[in-house]
Subunit: 150 residues, 4 copies
Amino acid sequence: MTPEQLLPYIASVFNEMPFNKLIGLQVTRFDEEVAEVRFDWSAQLVGNPLQQILHGGVIASVLDVAGGLMAVSSALGRVSQVAPEQLHERFGKMSTIDIRTDYLRPGRGQQFTATARVIRAGNKVAVCRMELHNEQGIHIALGTGTYLVG
Amino acid sequence: MTPEQLLPYIASVFNEMPFNKLIGLQVTRFDEEVAEVRFDWSAQLVGNPLQQILHGGVIASVLDVAGGLMAVSSALGRVSQVAPEQLHERFGKMSTIDIRTDYLRPGRGQQFTATARVIRAGNKVAVCRMELHNEQGIHIALGTGTYLVG
Amino acid sequence: MTPEQLLPYIASVFNEMPFNKLIGLQVTRFDEEVAEVRFDWSAQLVGNPLQQILHGGVIASVLDVAGGLMAVSSALGRVSQVAPEQLHERFGKMSTIDIRTDYLRPGRGQQFTATARVIRAGNKVAVCRMELHNEQGIHIALGTGTYLVG
Amino acid sequence: MTPEQLLPYIASVFNEMPFNKLIGLQVTRFDEEVAEVRFDWSAQLVGNPLQQILHGGVIASVLDVAGGLMAVSSALGRVSQVAPEQLHERFGKMSTIDIRTDYLRPGRGQQFTATARVIRAGNKVAVCRMELHNEQGIHIALGTGTYLVG
């Protein structure tokens, strides 16, 4: 698999993860700079029904997914050529170590976009910063995630 | 509403939250010491399908729910008598400020139990510590959450 | 005390804090957008002597100081006129609730600058993001702090 | 160096770190279960002088030191015999990745004790939980630290 094939392949793996499908996540952009994950408002994603705002767990989930994408990209980006079987093996060893989510404003909107950027790209550990905005550009949440990548 | 009625009422509000129902969360214990939230393994909660382990977002969600329960309990516990309309108003002002989740072991098992305890019970802010175990007692994750309560 | 007098006064309070003096911190910029705190390399700030890099605690300290400055500024900024005795009372109630520090690169350099910006400015709680760079612009650490302000 | 010599040696390295000496930290217990680090009240460790309480940075520092001790112990504990030159090399690669500190109560007291326990002991990453109490057993702060160990 060449580097050009790698990112679309990783995006498709994330899109197919059962829980990502349950929430309705879609990887809408994914390159060496930024990962972008979107989902639409849905009644089943609500926390407090009186307020009709997103459940905090949904927000934490999408931030983790966006950060995880960039962490995987950061780790595999240095590889010029990866065999598919190697990829599976390396994927299996990658995981979130810890994540902090800061809830800034109520999760109101029609469509939500999480973005992630790598701020530490190590051989073993990657750190990413993530943000969640709605379709009006309101900044809803941010996150910092530490990922095991090697 | 008397204090005796309060905790079961809060638990029912959490059980009815749409996203909590989507994941299958149930409040199974809730007193002044500890909140306990359970859910069963389900294929739709999987992250990486190769490994068949819980998605990190599911773990973050249930830890936040358990912590939120104890934060609400901590804030309302000092009130001897609360009118239902007051309760709604106070509920509406309570929210997670930030949460840290540490993933310790892969999320494997049949049934998962999150527990939460209050470690700072303030008028404005409560801090809770949460843990997730599976039915074999394996410690899967832990969390620390800061909640706005007044 | 007018708003024009307020920020320099707050800066002087921080500069005079005993532990800030011990480390050698100086508030070098402080307006409604950003707080900037500097300190010079010093042998007594070293952690591991084999590596001659800053102790992690020094980095966490300066990030907390920069974030605390902006949190105080955010809370007092809405007040048009504050009597000095009020200021002391409000100061006494402000405190760091929690802080996350991410160590990105070894703390090497001659002079270090921490900057802080407010990302959530509430009546009760403020959240700030902080960064530490050395004199060459190397990004050494970042932090996210939650502060009780009212 | 045998395992019996290892822990006292690591403790002495920490006791000799310049910044630890500046604060007055002493490793008072260190075995495979727990690390304990103490320091006495001192006027130069004060943050807000009106309140005469410990600076948050002092608290973050001592929690990080206690956690770092246990992380090192966790990583080296599996080695039956370590040559001193190897030890230096491995030490040099160990570092704090990130740390969260929760401030629970004002830092008042005569003597303060930080304790740390390992909650994730991996080949590459260790996670520790830390607590700070004063001489009266008042729980002042807690922390969660992620450490690179291999």
